[in-house]
């Protein structure tokens, strides 16, 4: 392994490799910053240019785009309350709140530091234990996936700010949305109302952009008409946070990174699930859960470390098993396939320079990301001094362009618009739309795997879920979490009733 590592290092330490990585990171960060363009789209746009490149250089560049993209999404999340990528949705909670409190620098740089730490942590994991890590992906069969998704969903309760039951309601709404489209188990289209475009279900990008970006822009547009100015009333502090502040967040970064790496390894889960799980677990385990959502820097640190931690994890099934676990890694797969390089278990013996160069390059990509991100932040901060009218218009245009570019369907623009409206309604009734997104993301994983597990167990619920230790543990944790939340909800609503009566 040491030999391969040295080969990898020598491949990366050539000027064309380094240039490719820096370019990749910058391109990815830029793409991530634009709402509607995520890491996958940024990679897809670059893919045709890799066809004439050396496969090693191509894959290192795409790896850089992937890392940069997962980071870039957090910049607009902090500055304008709109996540640039799906996986940055959780960052909005505390990041945007920090910005509104004038602690813009703390929000932006915490997200940068956390992303870099998460990325470096996962690159080191890759270098040390890539092949054994593949075991995590293999340990998860249908029953275990269901149990994991169920545990994730049980966290919804903790996302409901004041009212646990509103969180649960929003979660069920998300699960309902996930049932739209072709039913892969029974083979029939569901809730498509005769629209062919709906047979593929709702796409994640237009849905998220509608709920977050469009509804936020509508809200801001209303404020503009009410004569409010964009400039914050408080003075913004854009300086780099103090070392003591960074040090304090370090355990949160490691916590997020570990979740990111593990969830990233599982095919089908990915960065979005990782950041949501990280955020809700951190909130639950925290001594002071109420501070989350009110500008706690830990609420930025955990999801950002988690979504960048997932970048390394996602490489594991691709390289060790030859199976892409996400859209982004599917693009890396096609970049390799075009050069007749087939990823898989044999890659490590046949051409170890490819996986090890990629691993080492991801380490470098994350170090470069710190500097690239620093520059981009300096530039992006100026956004806040642009007139609000112009900014809202530009963002709406970017969102619709990005959404269209993703699917090449005007239908997606309609989906984004419709969910913009739904997002407004949810805001009006203070129903946490993040819980809906979590329900949407996990609902499909949960449903398909529940039905698969039941086929395997021949219809027996007990046989499906309590035959495996892993799924038993996950399910028990989920039930405990639900029971606790409901108890908390009942107690707090009784309290508010008594206080209202008094």
């Amino acid at each position: 392994m040491l030999d391969s590592l040295i080969t990898g290092l020598s491949t990366v330490l050539q000027w064309e490799s380094l240039l490719a990585i820096i370019f990749g990171v910058a391109w990815g960060t830029l793409g991530g910053m634009i709402p509607g363009i995520n890491a996958t789209i940024a990679m897809a746009l670059l893919l045709p240019f890799t066809w004439s490149m050396d496969p090693v250089i191509a894959i290192m560049m795409l790896g850089g785009v992937y890392c940069g993209g997962e980071y870039g999404g957090s910049i607009p999340a902090v500055l304008i309350g709109t996540p640039g990528t799906n996986a940055a949705a959780c960052t909005v909670y505390d990041g945007y709140e920090l910005h509104k409190q004038g602690k813009t620098g703390l929000g932006l740089y915490t997200s940068l530091n956390s992303s870099v730490i998460g990325g470096i942590f996962s690159a080191i994991c890759l270098i040390l234990v890539a092949v054994p890590l593949a075991g995590v992906a293999l340990a998860f069969g249908p029953a275990e996936y269901f149990a994991l998704a169920f545990l994730g969903l049980s966290m919804i309760c903790s996302l409901g700010e004041k009212n646990v039951f509103k969180g649960i309601l929003a979660g069920f709404f998300g699960i309902l949305l996930a049932t739209v489209g072709f039913d892969p188990i029974a083979g029939v289209p569901r809730f498509t109302f005769g629209f062919m475009s709906m047979t593929e279900g709702f796409n994640m990008v237009p849905l998220m952009m509608g709920l977050y970006a469009i509804s936020e822009m509508f809200k801001q547009a209303q404020e503009v008409m009410a004569g409010e100015t964009f400039n914050l009333k408080v003075k913004t502090d854009t300086t780099f946070p103090k070392w003591s502040e960074i040090k304090r967040l370090f355990p949160f970064n490691i916590f997020g990174s570990i979740i990111g790496v593990i969830v990233g390894v599982m095919p089908g889960a990915g960065a979005t699930v990782a950041s949501f799980l990280g955020y809700s677990w951190a909130k639950r385990l925290s001594k002071n859960p109420d501070s989350f959502g009110k500008g706690n820097p830990a609420g930025v640190a955990v999801p950002e470390s988690a979504n960048n931690g997932a970048t390394g994890g996602a490489m594991v099934p691709l390289l060790a098993l030859g199976i892409p676990g996400s859209n982004s890694t599917a693009i890396m797969l096609s970049a390799l396939m075009i050069h007749n390089v087939t990823p898989g278990p044999m890659l490590f013996t046949k051409s170890p320079e490819i996986p090890y160069s990629l691993f080492v390059s991801m380490l470098f990509a994350n170090i470069f990301m710190f500097f690239v991100g620093y520059l981009f932040i300096k530039f992006a901060i100026k956004v806040t001094s642009i007139s609000k009218q112009a900014l809202v218009a530009v963002i709406i245009a970017l969102v619709f362009t990005g959404v269209y570019a993703y699917s090449l369907e005007i239908f997606s623009v309609a989906v984004a618009l419709a969910f913009g409206l739904i997002g407004m309604i949810l805001r009006r009734f203070e129903i946490p739309h993040t819980a809906s997104v979590l329900g949407f993301v996990l609902g499909f994983i949960m449903e398909a795997n529940l039905r698969r597990a039941l086929i395997v167990s021949e219809g027996s619920m007990g046989g499906a879920f309590f035959n495996s230790t892993l799924s038993s543990i996950l399910l028990i944790a989920a039930f405990a979490s639900i029971a606790l939340s409901i108890a908390r909800g009942v107690i707090s609503s009784r309290k508010s009733k008594t206080s209202a009566a008094a």
Partner: protein, 338 residues
């Protein structure tokens, strides 16, 4: 303006936009597919034959750039260009389970400058999603390849042959569990056809995409799987998965027993790759294209590509190709009961 008024205004404007988009999207669906008139044929026939192609040819495909099928089409395009003299330009129209690409190309001018790259999806998806468009709205140009379908098991499995599988499954009906495609997908159809022919029963667990199915089998959660060879090849090579039989004879791996060799020649499943043209495209033009495609099979670069993926060259043009699609259509309809 009051806050309330502003809110209503935003909601109203959004609805207007949505309705506009909604009607805009729905319009093509409402217009019934015009029956292909024989008129275009003589018009096109006036053009002297040797002039085709005078410009680039657009090849529409239903999945996004960089997908497996797209790379295939682009690689084949390079080889076809050499014989045709003009470039094939792939136009990706993803979405709507394929309907976007197929509606667009079915309505294109039938002059040979718009073609459609296809896989078996064009037979499966219209049936399952009840689409107003199907492969019957096109003229067959040529089928190029079959994607080999195989039965695979974890390397430590006791099953070693198709006969083993049949015997074990007969002894314990429904207890053997295999990963397969979603209903209507060819892996699923293949499993059903084999069960019908050999008279046994296994549980088929549906997966979208062969990757997830392969991981589940690798992890030992299922007894085996049915899928495309290409998706499991690297794990077979590494000795983690074993192929116990295939549905198509693979010329590069002649040792792998086929279902026909195991005694079930009636099981015919061919996951196809080919090209169609809009209905009414003149026969002379189709012949020129089919000829160029046939010659492409001998192109050394292209050959290297398709042999690496273990694609089985199975060139079929005209009515042979149509007949195969008709058979597959009947097979899938029987499998999903539609």
């Amino acid at each position: 303006m009051s806050t309330k008024m502003r809110t209503y205004l935003v909601i109203f404007m959004t609805f207007v936009l949505l309705v506009t988009i909604g009607t805009g999207c729905a319009a093509p669906k409402e217009t019934p597919q015009p029956a292909p008139t024989p008129a275009p044929a003589p018009v096109a026939a006036e053009t002297p034959k040797p002039t085709y192609p005078e410009k680039e040819v657009e090849v529409v495909y239903h999945s996004s750039a960089g997908s497996g099928g797209d790379i295939f089409l682009r690689t084949m395009g390079k080889a076809v260009d050499k014989n045709l003299g003009k470039a094939w330009v792939v136009n990706n129209m993803p979405g709507a389970s394929g309907a976007n690409a197929w509606n667009y190309s079915a309505k294109a001018k039938p002059d040979g400058y718009t073609l459609l790259g296809i896989s078996s999806t064009i037979i499966t998806s219209p049936i399952l999603n009840e689409m107003p468009v199907s492969y019957k709205d096109f003229e067959p140009v040529a089928m190029m390849f079959t994607d080999p379908m195989v039965l695979f098991v974890p390397a430590d499995s006791k099953l070693t042959s198709i006969k083993d599988l049949v015997d074990t499954a007969k002894a314990k009906p429904g207890k053997v569990k295999f990963a397969g495609g979603t209903p209507g997908e060819l892996g699923f159809v293949a499993g059903r056809e084999l069960m019908k022919a050999a008279g046994f029963e296994i549980a088929l667990v549906p997966f979208e995409g062969g990757g997830d199915a392969a991981v589940t089998v690798l992890g030992g959660h299922l007894d085996g799987g049915i899928g495309e060879y290409a998706e499991i090849a690297s794990n077979v090579e590494a000795g983690k998965l074993r192929i116990i039989g295939s549905f198509n004879k693979m010329p590069l791996s002649p040792d792998i027993q086929t279902v026909a060799e195991a005694g079930y020649p009636e099981v015919k499943v061919e996951k196809l790759r080919g090209v169609l043209a809009p209905k009414g495209t003149p026969k002379e033009v189709i012949d020129i294209i089919a000829e160029a495609m046939k010659k492409a099979l001998d192109d050394p670069d292209f050959k290297k590509y398709y042999e690496a993926g273990n694609l089985i060259p199975s060139f079929k043009a005209g009515d042979d190709f149509r007949k195969l699609m008709d058979e597959q259509d009947a097979q899938i309809r029987a499998a999903v009961g539609k």
